[in-house]
Symmetry: C2
Subunit: 619 residues, 2 copies
Amino acid sequence: MGEQSFEVKFEPSGRTVDVLAGTSLVEAAGRAGTAMDMPCGGTGTCGKCRVRVNDAPEAVDAEQRAFAAAEVAQGWRLACRQRVTRDMTVVVPESSVFGGRHQILTDHDTGAVHDLEPEVRQARVRMRRPTLEDGMPDLVRIEEALRASGAWNGDGVLKASPATLHRTVAALRDGGYEGWALLRDGAMLDYHPGETRTPSYALAFDIGTTTLAGVLLDLSDGTEKAVVSRINPQTAHGDDVISRISHAVQGERELRELRGAVTAAAGEMAAELCRSAGVAPGAVHTAAFSGNTTMEHLLCGIDPAPLSMVPFVPVFGRGLSVTAAELGLAIHPEARAYVFPVIGGFVGGDTVAGLLATALPERAGATLFVDVGTNGEIVLSHGGRLWAASTAAGPAFEGARISCGMRATAGAVEKVVIDERVRLGVIGGGAPAGLCGSGLIDLCGQLLKCGALGCDGRLPAPEALPENIPADMAARFQRDADGEVEFVLSDDGTRRVSLTQRDVRELQLAAGAIRAGIAILLRQAGLEIDQLGHVLVAGGFGSFIRRDNAQRIGLLPPELPHDRIVYIGNASLAGAKWGALSRRARARAEVIARLARHVELSNDPDFAMEFAMAMYFPG
Amino acid sequence: MGEQSFEVKFEPSGRTVDVLAGTSLVEAAGRAGTAMDMPCGGTGTCGKCRVRVNDAPEAVDAEQRAFAAAEVAQGWRLACRQRVTRDMTVVVPESSVFGGRHQILTDHDTGAVHDLEPEVRQARVRMRRPTLEDGMPDLVRIEEALRASGAWNGDGVLKASPATLHRTVAALRDGGYEGWALLRDGAMLDYHPGETRTPSYALAFDIGTTTLAGVLLDLSDGTEKAVVSRINPQTAHGDDVISRISHAVQGERELRELRGAVTAAAGEMAAELCRSAGVAPGAVHTAAFSGNTTMEHLLCGIDPAPLSMVPFVPVFGRGLSVTAAELGLAIHPEARAYVFPVIGGFVGGDTVAGLLATALPERAGATLFVDVGTNGEIVLSHGGRLWAASTAAGPAFEGARISCGMRATAGAVEKVVIDERVRLGVIGGGAPAGLCGSGLIDLCGQLLKCGALGCDGRLPAPEALPENIPADMAARFQRDADGEVEFVLSDDGTRRVSLTQRDVRELQLAAGAIRAGIAILLRQAGLEIDQLGHVLVAGGFGSFIRRDNAQRIGLLPPELPHDRIVYIGNASLAGAKWGALSRRARARAEVIARLARHVELSNDPDFAMEFAMAMYFPG
């Protein structure tokens, strides 16, 4: 089993992915963390998803129309039209990226450019040297010089911590009373002697229930200097937020333990990011963290007990500004970190960050934002209003509660294609070790497509299979030792990877919850499903879902044209990056969090019925 | 030798002092830290210095005029008219206090009442309980309730640290969503459940070069709950600020050592104050520190090197707000401390605090403020303007560089009266062990009065004494082993306490510097000495100086009527108390520091001449 896969390298990110032959470049780019801009929905008509492919194949008609002959000759192609048929290198220009780095600086829909506007900035200071007639204190001298040059016009007086003042004494004199002040609001954080600005960086973190991701950014131009990710060490205390909360509420020690696990990891990641980019940790001057409500509470060491009890009230709502040291970051001693605002107990800062990165409130037309992570968050934007809900999608998509479930790591079946035979895509290319979320969706979607699985989700018994299904497929319906039906993906004698009836039920529950949530939000907004413009699928996991299979199982609205579903990658991290780079972005995040109407699904009288109905796969 | 002394106990402070027979009650009160209000200058005409004396002697004429017969019968007397002739207890009503506790709340000269206006305040919070329809986060819920009741109307959003939020979770629920929020500006520092306010206290510290003094204050009414003082442990590294700076600039370790010594002491004093008053350290919510410029820099761990080099520039000028923990105080975890603003390299926050406590800028008429501590600071107030200078008075008044010099502790000769014989007041009443500042001033003043010492300060040889001096005195002029002249105060065979020629020179230098400084400030203000209304003598040491002797040696202007010199006690501590109790006081301290014109004496072309002239004792 298994099928030929190829390596695609994307520039300038430098990221490489292994994909099955025939995968579109748009999908491959999504897996590499780069969501393509594709307003036409991948129909080849808008020409937005321009990429340059090395040793490019013949251009198709849409490409001939989209590019000048010289461009075609240089290898310019449309990512939505190209499929992977060999190892390749693809250059993605910034203008082709959706929801990624470019999105941080440009709002596609409004056309407005969001300037870099970091929380910290540097201002040139040139002072007269003190004399016996002019014994002005150092800090006042700096303030007066800043006011005189117009570089700072604070209402009050310029403030500085004792530690900053201590560092300033020698720096001021070493630089002959000329240098640069590092400012944040009304405070000087540091003073550097000399002619040139000091390098200045920011960190952005996405604190996921399962995965932590961190990025180091250059504050001079917003570029990404290094990326790192790792498993959230809190997973030792359970896969989902409820198990984390259960542990944390046992006592102060347990809360400190969970907090310490994630702050230590963030600290190590920060150090690793700096090391790999050759950046001095002291040159990192600000940071931003996004995460779901529970993750943010634990990160800050705040008792999460209320999140586990009706009515699931968060302790804080608006974003927090805390010292970077409190969050484990050994960066500039005066650096602060912005923790994203939350919308509700289960719609957190990661969702707000995603909405920020996609500029969802400003989008023309009704747009749905779906983050299929360990929890499933759904936000509907329409006419400047936002409705937000969370579903108990649970960790099925992360492989939990699935008999052969596993995370999307080496050995996981992450893609399934069934035609005349059953073909599997295995991460790393070796023998299958288990089934991850996207593989589970693919498998059930393909079984539904072939008619081997009905709307009720019942696996047919080997002796009662529909007649027209292929032989390779039919042979895989077997009974286990207990006589239960299962669909066997692989069995090399030592390891058997299969799908059980219980697994299908878990998938029905998870997908049904999201589908029902979408239905409730649409109803609250007074919209029909076909009025939806786009569905933005966020989350590292989201990028790996095949749209058609996700629509077949009802995770994504089956009524929608295939091309209105857009993968936007890790939108939480993209928003966190924006939050790290711009105080205006932080202000918008606060507006988004306040604007969003938090819909408590379990409190909606229609939800139970919708959920029950959504348990059936779409007909 | 030695003379009869009595114990005087003052109420309500409860402080007790031992004084020589014949000491006025005003002076005794000053030594007990209570400066009497005495606008008439002690002439018995204003009736302001009312006190009630137990078992009071017959009332004198001035008292018969000042009080009704019934009051006289109850023991009401004027402190300026009464002399100590036995052990006594004296009740000092608040209205009779100058520059003390009362001064903190009332501005005598303007008549304005300075309300208590602490940096922190408590506001009642009554909230609706959250429901599934109303999932407002805890902090937002508190903010909305505060806004609804009008208890808080901040411009931005209510902020809270993660640690405060963590503590709030249980408190909010334990109190059934009713309680009290502890607020500072736009931040909630704490939340307490229940019906009643939580007790709230403040700490005030005077960080002297030689002595540390601390007070615990009740923020509900401004009353003093406990007082403590100790020697500044930094004295192990030298008596004056220059020796401290010399040590600190050797390296980071040495600076940390000096800082740690004083913050550790402050921490111990805070703990002691809380213990003796039965107050939980967590109930102390704010603090204020005053000290000279060097002491404040060291307290904050700021490199004091610029203070030891021309042009003696302080690193900070305006007051600092730092976390209480940074200054060694283990009080409320969110508490901050106010560090007083400074005027110049050698006119520090202690002087600003003193000017604040005496409301110097608002006083009618030209007033001189003199703080005779380890350094001598002089401030002249006239027509709403302030001129401030420091003199290198040096530590002579603290007993340093004096052959038999010692601090004003047990065994120190602190008072000398010479008439037919030489009478000594010894602290603790035992045998003389040395000579402290006030004893040195007394001794030289009395020698001048008797004609045994001339204007040039030369000690006469035993064989060339003026003829009319008493025999007991004449016998004390002796030659030491090296043949140098000395005046022997006591000699019990094992210990000899005497005054040498070199000691007189040190006193001439110290007093002359202050006298020359006063002359320069008067000249800059265009004033003659007789235009001075009052001279306020501050500093713990100042209270122990006999005015007449201080005028004889020229430390205080000899031209001024004796009664225009007012002792105001530890004005720095009084100002620090005010700073601890009121944000309005802090704002005024900032204005004072900015208003004061810092006069660099060594830069004044007339200073050298004035100083040379001032080396002569007044004729």
